[in-house]
Symmetry: C2
Subunit: 312 residues, 2 copies
């Protein structure tokens, strides 16, 4: 597997597979996150079209999305994989190739890692280390103010639609269905968009991997505020109809970014993201009254199961 | 669980549970490692005297030992735990308390982390970030020379003896047996000893968590050298007899440090470690001829199963 790890270089002084730990020249302000994918919970090997290379990419993407959500630049990754001894070496190889491929795509070195054996479901953890230029130039969950617009990048609901399709074990039959499945299996973290939001003056935001609804709570509750979201304005993935908006609001696993800002920086951000080919859509507003209100035009609508979080 | 994570401070600008990632002021030279404990492979809940607090400490210790093996100072930790939804919250609490306790003991902030749900064995990953003053002042596996002494810290074989006892499901009956079990369940990483080795001028070393034999290979093979180890000189844990030396050589899980150096720095290191209350014992010598030779006095002895490594 060592071929998939970065080699020692001017940037990476010591690569961990050769030593007990990796050594690199540090950055002034470090941004760090870790996240795990568990077989049977986050993915299934019997999904039609399942591919270990995409799984490796996804492991990186879920962590890269956390860096994106801070407006940070990815720098180094460490991966720790608990794999079954019976796993074909070709699958292990594809998993690592996916990790390495996504790392390279986002300018990040895989500096180290570890194997463990497991008798149960695969459990894959990555830790991503990035940097920001200054503590003030980051996206944070705290700091939203009443009257600010709420924006979201990309298109919503595709990953959830893809997951439902995968769970039927039916192969996707159309180009639209293939896009939905791709959104679930191979999400693209919004690293450039996160940095562009910060450059445009946006300071409040996060990713919506736990669902848009949950993230709106997270950026309004610290300030004891609330929000209204107009579900008709949600930029749904192509092929979804307007009634399917809950796919874009609940635990949707769209690795898009949510942000809140006054109208002027939101407009600058929209222009900047447009130049990256990423739509930024205003879907609601921060309000004084606590709680999240969902409107379908003038009608109040509700979610059956808002957001998703373990053990809280 | 948030009470067990570090709060934002002058050192930790953003704590991850409140945001998508942690932010801290970086160090000039960063040392980073990650390692996972898997239920059923690395520990069992039905071991007599099993305690989630000790498991949390052990998760930190296995990673702190990798920093120790580089001569690094621990700074920050991130933890990613895959837990069963059915796990009593009191056990989750104890697990986190153990992580926080060992972090604090070694001057390290738990800057962030993540929960995942699993339907299978618990899978616990920590990533440790530390620092060194200069790239030259680290312990590395490469660089050993012919004629150098090979030294090892602490006492060997206790963790392996403890593991055998735990696997019988019999409660330890004597103070000696309790020490063996403690060596397995609650190893103490040699962080201060690692830094003292570097200060004494030692530059080649690593930890022996995969077994002393395997680590002697790792520090001699990069230089195409070999070694002789005199098994009579191994500092066995108290209660073990001389014939039980394989417990201290195979996949022993003693979180001790092995090092190689000329006689003069080895003597300085022995004195410095003595002041920390940690024995450093010379057990062999680096030699020109490749391969590891084990001697019991004048007699050549062999291991049935030397060292341990997954998927290699």
């Amino acid at each position: 597997m060592r071929k998939y790890f970065a080699r020692p270089s001017a940037k990476l002084l010591v690569a961990a597979p050769e030593d007990d730990a990796a050594v690199w020249r540090g950055d002034r302000l470090v941004v760090a996150t870790t996240d795990t994918l568990v077989e049977g919970i986050d993915f299934r090997l019997d999904w039609p079209g399942f591919d270990f290379r995409l799984l490796g990419r996804r492991l990186m993407s879920i962590n890269l999305s956390d860096l994106a959500a801070m407006g940070a630049e990815p720098r180094y990754a460490l991966v720790s994989l608990a794999l079954r001894g019976s796993m074909p070496s070709n699958d292990v190889d594809r998993l690592y190739a996916g990790v390495a491929q996504q790392a390279q795509r986002f300018g990040c070195l895989v500096a180290g890692g570890d194997f463990s054996e497991t008798g149960g479901p695969l459990s894959l953890t990555a830790t991503l280390i990035g940097r920001v230029a200054s503590a003030a130039r980051t996206l944070r969950r705290a700091g939203a103010r009443r009257g600010w617009q709420i924006g979201v990048t990309g298109r919503l609901g595709g990953a959830a639609a893809g997951l439902r399709l995968l769970e039927t074990r039916r192969r996707p039959a159309t180009a639209t269905e293939r896009r939905w499945v791709r959104a679930q299996l191979d999400p693209q973290p919004r690293v450039d968009a996160g940095r562009a939001l910060v450059s445009a003056g946006v300071r409040v935001g996060g990713d919506i991997s736990d669902g848009l609804y949950r993230e709106v709570q997270r950026i309004t509750e610290p300030s004891r505020l609330g929000a209204t979201i107009d579900v008709r304005r949600l930029p749904l993935a192509s092929g979804l109809n307007a009634n399917q908006w809950p796919l874009g609001v609940e635990d949707s696993e769209d690795f898009e970014l949510l942000c809140a800002a006054p109208a002027a920086p939101m407009a600058s951000a929209k222009a900047a993201l447009g130049r990256l080919g990423v739509p930024l859509t205003v879907v609601g507003e921060v309000e004084r009254e606590p709680g999240i209100r969902l409107l379908d035009g003038a009608r109040v609508v509700r979610l059956r199961k808002p957001g998703y979080e373990h053990f809280h």
